[in-house]
Structure formats: C-alpha cells, structure tokens
C-alpha cells in the first residue's frame, strides 16, 4: 500500500519553508473529513478506515509541523534516508554541544529561573539560525552532507529544548 507523501496530503510542494498557519488550517479541514467521529453511524469498516486515515494524517501533520522532523523527512524523500543513531563527525558542533549541556547542568544546580528563560531564548535563536541554513542548502545535491549535518544539529537542539522543559518541571516545586 503506497502512502502519499506527507506534503501531497496537504496539497503542498515539498519544501522546507512552510506557512505553519496554512498547514494548521489544512490539517483542520482534513481532520474533519477523516476523523472517526464523522463515521460514528457508518459501517464498522468505514470506521476502521477512518481510524487509519486519521492516524496517518496526524503523523504527517506532526512530521511537517516540527522543523527537525520536516528536515529529516525532506532528506528522506529526496533519496537521502538518514539512519537514526549514527556517530557523526561534527567536531565543531561537538564543542558547542558540550557547552550547551554544561550550561544546562549549571542552571539546574543553581536553580536559576531567569537563567533558564535566557537560555531558552538563545536556544530559540540558534534553532532559527539552523533552520535558515538548512533552507538554503537542502535542495542542492552538492551540499547534501552539509544538509545532513545541519539536520542532526537541529535534532540535538530539539532534544535540548525538551530537556529544558524537564528542567523547568523539576525546578517547579
């Protein structure tokens, strides 16, 4: 069973730059069409189909909504499936990674809420910068390695953002 490309599902051209509001609007329209609640009085088979389609739609939406996941997906559909856990040589970024992590640990130890807020802001700026860089090079076959590297960095920062939320939760007492 061939699944349509996530972009095609939303009637969009595969691209990294995306109007998130437009994506959200289309998602809501599509969700209306396939949500199981629309088929509560239909046959069991239709209900099951609706369930599958809904799940597929939600997966596509979650993938396109998140910049790192969108980036990964774009590379995959361009024929550059990137294996999940692979040690990559990215020495320049490795250093930055360590810095980010150390800072986060310090924030935890000092329970510095203002510091956490500032950290989040800088993290956001860094993520936006990576997004811009990726947007500029992903479609260029000659810069494929760079695109992959950038995508991994995006993933790292995404994970870091999650850890910041966990830290906020731990500090909230």
């Amino acid at each position: 069973m061939g699944t349509p490309c996530h972009f095609a599902l939303f009637d969009l051209q595969p691209d990294f730059r995306l109007d998130l509001d437009q994506l959200a609007t289309r998602y809501r329209e599509l969700a209306r069409a396939v949500h199981p609640d629309r088929f509560a009085d239909a046959s069991e088979r239709e209900q099951r189909l609706a369930l599958e389609r809904s799940a597929g739609l939600n997966e596509a939406y979650q993938t396109l909504k998140s910049a790192p996941r969108r980036a990964r997906y774009l590379l995959a559909i361009s024929g550059h499936e990137v294996p999940q856990e692979v040690t990559v040589h990215d020495p320049e970024f490795l250093f930055q990674q360590m810095q980010w992590r150390e800072e986060l640990e310090d924030l935890q130890d000092s329970a510095d809420l203002d510091g956490v807020a500032a950290f989040k802001r800088r993290l956001k700026v860094a993520q936006e910068a990576l997004n811009e860089e990726f947007a500029a090079c992903w479609n260029d076959a000659a810069q494929r390695d760079q695109a992959e590297r950038l995508m991994r960095r995006m993933q790292f920062l995404d994970k870091l953002a999650y850890e910041v939320r966990q830290l906020e939760e731990r500090l909230d007492d």
Partner: protein, 621 residues
C-alpha cells in the same frame, strides 16, 4: 455567557426520526445523564425531579438501591454500600491500599486484577458496580425520551489511563449501552461552553471532581476543538478535602484512628458537610458525637493548600507541554463540584491572571457537553457544520525493554488517533512466540509506570534467530484505547495476539458477567443473540443505504452498485427469519462488498476538503 441554544431553524426532524442518544457523566461522587431536546442540552431528572444521581450502590440480599437511598444508608451499612467506585476502576489491590483512604470494604482476590468487593450479594467488581449505576441512568433516559437509545457518550477523566478507560467501556457493555465515544471530561465541558461559534482562542479547563483532577488546554478555531495538552491526577479530588477535615477532627477530638466502618463514614459525612458550609460561611461549628469545635475558613484553606498546590503544578506543566505561556490563555473554566470551594477559585484565578468562568453549573456542564456530542455522533445532522474534537493521549505509552526500563513509543499529548510501529526480532532459532509488556507513564523504570497488559504474539514463522522482522503496530483510537497488531514482514504473516490485561477483566470474565446478567433478567440467551444480530444488520443496511443515496451515482458503476444492492436484499430477506448465524454471516459479506466503496468515499471527502469546498454541499448533492 448563557447556555447556548443549538436551535436549527428550518431543520426540525420529527421526534420519531431523531436518533436518541445521551451524554453520561459517570462521576466519582455524582452521576448525571443529559440529552439534547428541542435544541437545548439539559440533564434528565428522576421521578422526584432530581438530576443528580449519587454514585452510590447499596447491595441487599435480594435487591439493590442506587443513588440517594444508597448514599443515605452509607454510615448504617458501610460494608455493602459502595461509594466512589470510580477510584477503583482499572486499579489493582496494591493501588487501592496505596490510595491512603480507609476504604471500609472487604476486598477479595489477591492477584493484580481488579479487586472485588465482598457484599451480601457476593463479590462485586468495580465494573459491575459502575454498570449498576449506568443501568439506572439508562432507564431514566429511555423513560424520559420515550424510546430505545442508539447510544451514549460516556465521559472519563482526561487523565484516565487505558485500563481505567477499558473498565469504563466494560461497565457500559454490562449495562447494555452502546458507547458512541468515551469523551474526556474537560473536552466535554469545553463543548458546553464553546458552542458560541465566535468562541476562538485558548481555553484552560480546570476540572476538580470528587476523586479526580484534570487540567486541559484547548485551542478553539472555527468549530475545531484541539486539545494541546492535558494533565492531572486521578487520585486528587474533593474527597481528599473531606479526608483532610476528617483528619483535623480526629486530631482535635483525640479520636483513635481505629474507627469502625460506620463511624468512619459518619466522620467523612461530617467533614463533607463542614466543607460545603464553608463555601458561604467564614466559620462553621463542627460536631462529632459529644465533641465540637469551630473550623474557620482560614484553617480549612491551610488544610487543603498542599492539594491545591498539586493541582496548580499540573496546570503549569500542561501549559508548558502546550508550548504556550500562561498569558496566552484567554479563558479559564471551572468544572466539578469541588471548584465551589472559594480558595480553589482564588488560587486558579491567581495562576492564570483572570477570573475563572463558572456560568454553567459545574456539576452539570460535563454531561451537557457530552449530550451535545452524543447527538452528533448518533447521526442527527446539524446545519452550520459540526464540532470536531481532537483529543490527545494523556500518558506516554511504551514498552518494557532490557533491564526493566520503559521505552516510550507514543509520547504523552500526542493527538489521537495515532499509530506507531516498532520492529522486533527473535532471539532463538525457530522462536514462534513473543511477549510484549506495554505500560503507560513518564518515568524511566517500569516499576514507576502503570502496567497495562501483556500481549502474546503467536504464529511467528520459524526462522533463524534474528532473521524475523516483526513489525508491531500500536494504535490508539479516538476513545484513547490501545490495540496492538503484529506482522512478520518477510512472510507477511499476521501474528495472533492474546491480550492479558494487568488490571482489567479478561474477555472470559466479561462474557460470564454478561451471561449472568441476562440469566438474572430472565432473558432467553438465544433470543437476545438473534436480536443483536438483527440490530447489527439493521445498522449496516442503514449505513450502506445512506452511502448509496449520497454517493452511489457518483462513485459506483452500474455493476458495482448492483452487486451491493443484491447483498443488501439477501440480508433483508434473512433478517425476518430466525437464523442468527446466517444473518451474521451475510452482514459480514455485505460489509466486505462495500469496502472499496467506503474507501472511495473517504478519498472523495478528503479531495473535497483540500479543494476547500463546503462538505455539506457534497452530502446534500
């Protein structure tokens, strides 16, 4: 904000054409059933005009009381009067002990399955007790509405896990109710409040009931209610406020903690009365036997402060999970009787920086919202489009991996329905079976998470160790219930799955309970089964006819249509007979024959949605 009328000018179906469906709030302390009538959603009263049915069941040797009569007898007959049974749904005996309450009941059954309560009528599972409450509500509904119900929407706390949800669905089955949807309580409340089509923005629903607390953050946009995040505590509620006061009484009065069950009940009732009195008074005189003392509101606030703090922490977490800031919340809604406590309202107002909304009776709002959704799901079409509710899974779903760790497969607050797959392989040559342990929770160790069930996969084709590629798909439906399927990718063989719930009833136990309840009601089993097959056939015929009327001409060629109509006629012919098995078989055949048509219809609505056309246009041709 007044309760909105959902009147439909120009569309007033005849009463007998309207499909009867209700919304049921099966609460810890109180239950209600509501329905949409003449465009208004309202709770249905009993013969005495009371809309609330206390969630209390008293078992006598040969009959039972449900509701007010049962609750009034609680202190006189504590061992046979079951209160707050919702706290026991989907839980094991160890949890019950951990809840910290002194539940006076005699529990039987020592395994991890649901604890049974010993009564004069024999052991009762929490599912059966809940079913007894639901039966009364169902009867009330059918009497009020004058007909058989097509189905019901039953609400559950958003934070209920899979076991708790499944138990609720099982109870509904036992009560003979067709569950149209298990709806999260905060979402139901949002529906009741948000019916004004102009309502847009981010809403926080703070739902503090008798035994459970939920916080949900929703975004309302053009008739779509999207849950952004949900959080809560299924062991936090007004009951805990009562226990706090009871503890204060015991300490102040020098009571020993070794009270008999009757005295325990009386103590809690006294505490509850004091709590309610303090809603309007600054102080209240509390009496217990010969002792009395004054409890000021300030002292009461101090007693409940830790519990309120817990709820606020869950609120902050939900806001973070939503990816928004507190300031982005444009309205806060209070749900549940316990939100009448003044300190709760103040605290919530302080957190969100705005006055919480309390216009709709906090005891009724959930049932009212559920009834609105039930009406839609039953198939009563509405002008101006329908609401769409997009909910989320409240707790992460994962698997047990090496070393007792929990590996998350579906993170919390993922929009449902959702399906994720994971691949496994065998570790022994010729291994044909595999066991997967599924849990829910946020922690790393499985001992800190809720065990849901063990899934045994059988029928894996014999291969060299490590050669098999078994893809296991975890699917969570719109009710928040998990189902698991597995396929060996190389051979395409679908594994058979046997589910062993950790805290639920097995299919065998339910079948036995259903059988017992039929026999008890004096029903002939065969007649009952025949009727069920006929009802299923009727439903399918109606659905297929509706589909043909709407899209038959557009999406089917003459041969295909004839084939479907032929199977329909075969089914109609069988339905007037008494061969239940033949009816069941023909129903399946008709369903198969319409499979491709169903897929085409779905594709068609999707295309239309993208083209931005009004879906109503298509349906009305």
């Amino acid at each position: 904000m007044a309760l909105l009328q959902i009147a439909e000018p120009g569309q007033s179906p005849q009463p007998h054409q309207r499909r009867l469906a209700v919304g049921i709030d099966l609460g810890t302390t109180n239950s209600l059933v509501a329905a949409l009538r003449s465009g208004l959603s309202a709770p249905l009263p009993d013969a005495e005009g009371r809309v609330i049915l206390p969630s209390a069941v008293r078992y006598h040797a040969d009959h039972m009381d449900v509701g007010h009569a049962a609750r009034e007898a609680a202190s006189a007959d504590p061992l046979n009067t079951i209160l707050s049974v919702k706290r026991l749904m989907g839980r094991g005996l160890a949890d019950v002990k951990q809840l910290g309450e002194q539940l006076p009941y005699r529990f039987v059954g020592g395994e991890s399955h649901m604890p049974f309560i010993d009564t004069v009528q024999g052991p009762k599972s929490p599912v059966e007790v809940s079913a007894d409450i639901l039966k009364v509500l169902r009867q009330r509904a059918e009497d009020s509405l004058g007909g058989e119900l097509v189905g019901a929407v039953i609400t559950v706390p958003a934070y209920f896990d899979d076991a708790q949800r499944q138990a609720t669905k099982d109870a509904a089955r036992l009560a003979g109710l067709n569950v149209l949807r298990l709806l999260n309580e905060p979402t139901a409340a949002a529906v009741a409040y948000g019916l004004d089509q102009n309502a847009e923005g981010i809403v926080a629903i703070y739902d503090l009931g008798g035994g459970t607390f939920d916080i949900s953050i929703l975004r309302l946009t053009g008739g779509v209610f999207e849950v952004l995040a949900t959080g809560g505590d299924t062991a936090l509620g007004g009951d805990d406020f009562d226990h706090a006061i009871a503890g204060w009484i015991m300490q102040s009065a020098g009571l020993s903690s070794d009270l008999d069950p009757g005295a325990q009940r009386r103590l809690l009732e006294t505490a509850c009365a004091a709590k309610e009195a303090l809603t309007d008074a600054d102080a209240v005189t509390v009496r217990y036997d010969a002792w009395q003392a004054e409890l000021s509101r300030a002292a009461f606030d101090a007693l409940i402060e830790p519990m309120i703090a817990r709820s606020l922490k869950a609120c902050r977490r939900a806001v973070r999970d939503s990816g928004i800031e507190l300031e982005d919340v444009s309205a806060v809604v209070m749900v549940g009787g316990s939100t009448r406590v003044p300190r709760v309202r103040t605290a919530v107002g302080e957190l969100f920086g705005r006055q919480p909304l309390t216009d709709i009776d906090p005891d009724q709002v959930v049932a009212i919202g559920a009834a609105i959704q039930a009406d839609t799901l039953a198939g009563n079409r509405r002008e101006g489009g329908e609401l769409l509710l997009l909910d989320v899974i409240p707790l992460s779903l994962g698997l047990e991996t090496m070393g007792g760790l929990m590996e998350k497969v579906i993170p919390r607050n993922t929009t449902i329905p959702v399906a994720r797959a994971q691949e496994f392989t065998t570790y022994k040559d010729g291994q044909s079976a595999m066991m997967i342990h599924v849990l829910q929770g946020e922690r790393e160790l499985i001992s800190d998470c809720r065990s849901l069930a063990r899934f045994e996969l059988r029928g894996i084709p014999a291969m060299v160790a490590g050669a098999a590629k078994i893809r296991v798909t975890f699917q969570v439906d719109a009710d928040g219930l998990l189902s698991v399927s597995a396929r060996e990718l190389g051979s395409g063989v679908e594994a058979s799955i046997q589910v062993k719930p950790s805290y639920g009833l097995t299919d065998g136990e339910i079948a036995r309970m259903l059988k017992d309840s039929f026999e008890h009601a004096g029903n002939d089993k065969a007649a009952r089964q025949l009727r069920e097959h006929q009802v299923d056939a009727e439903r399918l015929l109606e659905a297929v006819q509706g589909a043909l009327d709407a899209d038959g001409e557009r999406l089917l060629d003459a041969d295909e249509r004839l084939a479907i109509e032929y199977q329909m006629q075969e089914l109609r012919d069988l339905m007037s007979g008494t061969d239940g098995a033949a009816i069941e078989q023909q129903t399946k055949r008709l369903s198969q024959v319409t499979d491709a048509f169903a897929a085409r219809r779905l594709d068609s609505t999707v295309k239309a949605a993208l083209a931005g056309r009004n879906l109503n246009e298509i349906e009305d041709n």
